[in-house]
Structure formats: C-alpha cells, structure tokens
C-alpha cells in the first residue's frame, strides 16, 4: 500500500467506481482534459473516455439538473461543482428535484447522483472559494450530506456515496486535500454512510467535529490528555442522515459535549447536534452542551481566515471550561 493524499484518494475512488460500474459518469467544469482544478479527476478522461468523463458548459444549474436526468435514467452521475461558493445555482435542483424525485414518483424514478464540491477555508483562496455551507444541505430531506476528514475516509465514503441509490452531497475540505498522506488500499471497500466514527476514545468529554476540523480537534484532544483530560473524539462524517445513537451513547458516558465546526455558528449544524444531545442526555450532562464555530460573519478574505477558523487553542480552552462545571 502506498501513502496518498486526500485528493488522490478521491481520484482513486472515482476510478474504482467507474471501473466497476459503467453507469458511473463524471461531469463538471474542467473535469476532463484539465482533470479538475484540484486534479481530483485527473486521468479519468484518458482511462474512461469522453462519453463518461465530460466537461460541461459553465452552468451549475445544468450540471445538477443534467445529473438528475441521468440518474432518473439509471446512470450514476458524479458531478463536480468547482467550489461550494458556486454551488448555489444548483441548490434548487437539490432541494426541489434530486432529493424529492424518488418520493414524488413513488419510487418509479430515483436519483442516485453524487454532487462533489470542495469546501472550507484555509488555503488562502480568493473570495467565494472558502465557505462551509453543509448545514444548508443537511436541512434538505431526502438528501445525504457526507464530509470526509482523511484520505481513507474520502476513499471509503465516496465509494459508498456513489454506490448509494439516493442523492449525496459530498463536500471535500480543500484544506485537507494535500494536508497529509495516509495508506489507502485500493480494495473497493466502502465505509458505511449514516455512521459517526469514534476516532479516539475518552471518558471526560466528547468532542464532535467533521471534515477539516478533525485534525484540529484531534490535536486539541492530545493536548487535553497532557493536562489530564480524557477526550473522546467523534468524526460525524455523514451529517445527514445523522447517526445520533453514537453521539448520544458517547455523551451519556462522558457527560460533556463540545461541538466544533468551521461554518458560522448561527443555524450551523452544531445546533442540531446540540439539540439532540440536550433532548437525550439531559440527566447525564455535567456541563452545558457547547460549540466552537466560525463567527457569524462573512467568511473573511485570506489574511483573516486563520482568525475565523476554530484553532486548537480555542477548542482546548472551551473544553477546559466545560471541565470546570463539575
């Protein structure tokens, strides 16, 4: 096994899925000859041809809408929206169409499509290239929202998303694309969707994060350990449909819960998790369920983004504060 980056793992999963199922198509802006602006689709055109790897016109509504049409005809389109900052024209297709097609045809038609999009800040990209809009998608019934946090997760979860019979928004944190390498066996084994992953076990506090906040959260947990605080760390991975059982079991055990996300706090997905924990763990909790998030501001331009994105220090401080309650 070789060590590869997360973007290489995305590429590996796409190639595996295309090789095993000729209904899998890749489409989007600059995905063919250019191999995608992050090179996630590099080599696919050469290997699978221009019928299955297609550069689209610059039209996000059409990219999502065509995918709905293809999926209804039993193809498995994997469409790329170049950055989540440009995904909004496709949202009508996700809210009104992709997520509802199975339901509004009583299963006559279905929508097994994946919409991939690089998300989040931290790579000093231009304006509109660094947003974290996952909560918007998680609010859409009938749509799955999946965010990988490592090369292995990207490989296994993307395979699962492509094989899933229903639509999935697959958000890939740009900050993690080349942040680290990991051994990934190209064995075609998918990771389960709708499942949270316990990345580190602990007894004093549960730290819950996803995507690009996982490295910071794990680093914070390591620091807390040095201070004698045993933190359990959960990678949510699939935001919708949320595996609240795993979260609730963990918080019932640790009795403290801190949720970390890069997106703005107001209306963020942390609020949903906090509400479910509050409902289920009320009598176990020793401290208020808390959040460390991006500020309720516009995502800043590159020079301020490190102040916006929750840091290891902010996470550690919030966790230590929760330990002071009892």
């Amino acid at each position: 096994m070789t060590e590869i980056t997360m973007v290489e793992a995305v590429n590996l999963a796409l190639a595996k899925a295309m090789a095993e199922d000729n209904r899998v198509l890749v489409l989007g802006e600059d995905v063919a000859a250019d191999g995608g602006v992050f090179r996630a689709t590099v080599g696919l055109l050469e290997r699978f041809g221009s019928g299955r790897v297609r550069d689209t016109p610059l039209a996000e509504t059409a990219i999502a809408g065509i995918s709905v049409g293809l999926a209804a005809q039993d193809f498995r389109p994997v469409a790329e929206i170049q950055f989540t900052g440009f995904i909004y024209p496709a949202i009508d297709q996700l809210v009104n169409q992709a997520s509802r097609l199975r339901n509004r045809t009583r299963g006559r038609l279905s929508c097994p499509m994946v919409l991939r999009s690089p998300c989040g800040g931290g790579i000093h990209a231009p304006e509109h290239h660094s947003e974290s809009p996952e909560a918007m998608f998680a609010h859409i019934p009938g749509l799955r929202v999946v965010i990988p946090s490592s090369p292995r997760k990207a490989y296994g979860l993307l395979l699962a998303a492509i094989r899933d019979p229903d639509p999935v928004v697959f958000l890939e944190p740009t900050r993690l694309y080349r942040a680290s390498k990991e051994e990934v066996g190209d064995d075609g084994v998918a990771l389960p969707l709708d499942r949270c992953f316990i990345e580190r076990t602990g007894t004093d506090i549960t730290l819950i994060a996803w995507g690009a906040m996982m490295p910071e959260t794990l680093a914070a947990a390591a620091e807390l350990e040095e201070g004698g605080i045993s933190a359990e760390v959960i990678d949510v991975a699939t935001l919708s449909v949320l595996d609240d059982d795993t979260i609730i079991r963990s918080v019932t055990k640790t009795k403290r819960c801190l949720i970390v996300h890069e997106a703005a706090r107001n209306g963020g997905f942390g609020g949903e998790i906090a509400a479910r924990v509050a409902e289920a763990c009320f009598f176990s909790l020793l401290a208020p369920v808390s959040r460390v998030c991006g500020y309720d501001t516009v995502m800043p331009l590159a020079k301020l983004e490190s102040h916006y994105i929750p840091s290891v220090a902010r996470i550690g401080k919030a966790a230590r504060h929760l330990m002071e309650y009892a």
């Binding site: 809408g65 049409g69 709708d194």
Partner: protein, 385 residues
Amino acid sequence: MLNCPRRGLVMAMPSDIEAKTRATPPVASPMPDAETEARRFINPSGKLLQPVTKAWAPPEQLERLYHAMVLTRAFDEKAIALQHTGRLGTYPSSLGQEAVAVGIAAGMAAEDILLPAFREHGAQLWRGVAMLELLLYWGGDERGSDFKKARVDFPVSIPVAAHFPHAAGVALALRLKATRNVAVCVGGDGATSKGDFYEAINIAGAWKLPAVFVVNNNQWAISVPVHAQTAARTLAQKAVAAGIEMDRVDGNDVLAVLDAVERAAARARSGDGPTLIEAVTYRLGDHTTSDNARRYRSDEEVSRHWIEEPIARLRAHLTNTGYWTKEREEDLHSQCSAAVEEAVAAYLATAAESPSAMFDHLFATLPAPLKRQCDLATAEATSHD
C-alpha cells in the same frame, strides 16, 4: 455629521425614456412575416391549408386526435368543478391548449420520455397516465404519482423550467444507451425567461442531444403577458443563441404541433440535435383555480381568442370533409363524460392514505432515525382514529 432625511431612490424618469421603457403590446394583428409567422395546417374555419402526412391523413387518425382533445377538456371541466366544490386541490386548467398537449404526445414515440410542465394533462392522458392518477395527484394524494403506465416519464414540474436541464440529462442518457429515443420537454412562455431554460438548451446544443423543447406560448405567465416577459419578437428565436433548430407553429392546430414534434424528434433521432418549438396558443382559462384572470386582462381579449380555439377548428375540418356528424359528436361527448365520471367516482371512493406514505419513498431504505419518526407518525394517526 449632516442630518439628512432619508431620500427615496425612485424619482421621476424623463418622460421620453419612460415611454420607451414601458412594456407595450405589439401592434394588433401585425402583418405576418417569414420570421414571426407560425406554421399551420388547418385554419380557424377548418380549412386544410397544406397536405397532412400519410400517417395522420386518414379521418380515423384525426378522430383520435379530436377524441383526445375533447376528453382533455371534459376532464378539465370536471377537475375545475371538483376544485370549486372542495374536492380537489388547486388545479391548472389546460382550456384552449389541448392541441399543444395532445399534439406533443401524438408526435412522440411510446419509448420517448416526456418531461411535462403542469398544464399538459392531455399529453399525460395520451401517454397512458390514468385520469384517476391525475385526480389523486391534484387532489393531494401521493399515490397519484405512481403511474401504472408511462412509468419512466417525469412527473409534472411545478417549479418553472427546472425540468429543462433534466431533459438534457435524460437525452444524454438515451444517447449513451445507444437508443434512438428522445426526451421531450414542455414549458410555458414564462419558462423561457429562466436561466434553467437557457442553460438546458445551450448544453443540449453543445452536446447535440436528442431533445425536443416545446414552449406552450399561451401568452400569459399568470398575470404577465408575453410582451412584458421578453423583448424577443418570438420565443422560438431564443434557439438562435443556443445554436439549435427552431420551429414556430400555431398551437391551436393539433396537426401543426404534431408535425413540428415529429420533425424535431426525427432530427434528434438521427443525431442532428435538439429543436426549440414555440407553439402559439392562448390560455382561455385562469392560471389555476386560485387565480382570477379578470384582474389583469379583459373579457374582450379572451373572447377574441375563442375564435381560434383548437377543438372547434378540428371539428369544423372533420365536418367539412363529411366524416363527422352530429350523432358521432354526441356519442363522443357521452363517451368522454362517462370516462371522466368513472375516474371521479374511483377518486372519491379512494381510502385515505397512511401517514407512513411520507416516509415510504424518501430513501431506497429508510434509515433508522427516520424509521423512528415514521413509527411516531403512524402511532399518532392511530391514536386520533
């Protein structure tokens, strides 16, 4: 700091500019020219203007088209009556546009895929969707969407033009499967103002997809007339920007619509790419049962368009040729009325659906957290019984 009162931004526009920017209807009855003329086979008095294709020339074939339009109108009248008496939800009438819907469906092959807007009841019926299913759907019952026939046709598209990109996707799928089938997509005049419409016809052109896009230009998008919708002289000409074929037909002439769809589908089947067809007709009814068109258009205008309506025209033609008689007309009406009444009786006798129907088709397999909600909804319903 200056203490300025808030000032409005809307100021008087110079009157010469104001006059130029106001949307104005085109001059009444302009002389037809090659660019804006709509092709037709039968004029409003039933006169045949050009020969009909061999397949549709026999009177029995024309009768099929006539029957379908009469049935569509009978269904429409009943649906409106049901809504007015609280037994159906909001319903969009297709009054006066029966030739567009029937012509489209008759011009398609059974294996082609229809992607309708929401006013193509006649096309859905022709393709085998049951009247009962239409009533269930417009009555708010999920089961109406489970068509027993035409199972791979798309459901109606309530959001305007959102289904145009789907047609491009379906057309690409049909091409990749190496079929000769085509995707046929229908929208209204208002749909041509939307980005979805343009993105779809553009990509269909760029990829030469086997798609036929039909615009039912019924002159009104709820209260906005087509001349206020666009400065384009025709809606068909929007094809020029996408580099695709265009056609403009009299939408009150079922043979013209049928012919345009057949020609466009033939081009698409042979790899010559998509076509945009504009079928020029008129919305004789309200936008939906929730609308009152008298708020924004005159009775005089509507009366003027009744002269053009599609059913009387084909009946006049069939009568002129000696094929159609008063007896046959009466028979047809009783037959259509009986079919509608049978569907209505079945609709009204349909037992209520279970709340679990909300969950049944959300995902292929219901995830555990949603299973719990489904159980809750079912238990709540049982406790209310």
